[in-house]
Symmetry: C2
Subunit: 181 residues, 2 copies
Amino acid sequence: MMFSTKAEYGVRVMVELARSPDGEPVPLAEIATRGGLPLAYLEHLAARLRKAGLVDSRRGSRGGYMLARSPLEITTAEIVEALEGSIAPIECISARPDGSIVCTRESDPAHVCPTKLLWTRVRGAIVRTLEQTTLADLLLGPAPGERPSLGALSERGPIAPASIGALEADEPKPRSLASGA
Amino acid sequence: MMFSTKAEYGVRVMVELARSPDGEPVPLAEIATRGGLPLAYLEHLAARLRKAGLVDSRRGSRGGYMLARSPLEITTAEIVEALEGSIAPIECISARPDGSIVCTRESDPAHVCPTKLLWTRVRGAIVRTLEQTTLADLLLGPAPGERPSLGALSERGPIAPASIGALEADEPKPRSLASGA
DNA sequence: CTGATAACCTACCGCCCAGGTAGGTATTCC
DNA sequence: GGAATACCTACCTGGGCGGTAGGTTATCAG
């Protein structure tokens, strides 16, 4: 596997927060029990999410965590990056603040790294996908025409999937959904 | 990082083999010294590549490894998969032989995993990129219009990059290059 | 004001495995 | 024969993932 459970759990936490009606804070304990996840561990992740400005918190009784922004405006790229650090398919490659891709094997500019092209492409594909997928997308389920979960077509959450069509299309189809929160 | 050095080294080995004039076998020791990689470790990787049918080998003096097929017909997906095992962005998700994506958190079909959509998309993006990028692509360098290595524009290998244009386009542009090897 | 609830913080820990080493055997060329 | 090289199995080590523990603050209900 390539992402750790940090990313997995973190996204799940964010989805739970997004599901909270209005902006009511959700205690981590609730998410932990619901998802069968270790509470103490989630606390670490929540701390990172808060430092990244993705969630707000309220202490004490009736407290908990809540999304800092609308699910429409929170991309999974932000979540994953907050938890895992900067996204890189492989150790030697990373993105600098200015966006340029650097390869540690290439410090000597005499010989270009022949595999850098590959990892740059892969990184781009991953980042693009994460950036195009918002928290709201996950709440809605697969887009029309997108391969569905294939096995659990019933009992959805807030909004039901419109149609279930082709079997091969996991492209994040941009879905117009402009209703500010 | 998401892929281990197995994938990194493995691709580098394959590139070196592809660069060998004609189909002359290249000893691993040569690749190791050229790339500053540990020979003993490369041997493990070479074993996997051979079992996957990606390379052939010749023992003894003047022996070494050679590509089993043309660089045009070897995708980086095959290489990475041979070395890392089946590609999955996260532990809970994997592809079954029939191509369907399964999520271990979903064994109970009562509740669909809300994050499965995300990991399915990410996996798709990665696999598609790896499948579209062949060994030959890496030999040629960035495609015209594709973000180049940005810092080492001189001294290329066999074929020079045609032009260097926009800064943001790491899409694997299909390049017609139909010359069977 | 008291207690319960929950965020928040720091320190600690075990296990797995990536990444690499070591040493030997089998095969082929000169 | 000897050098070169693939090929195989066993072993080792450090780091980090995933988690635990225990405490301190802040907030709310009654």
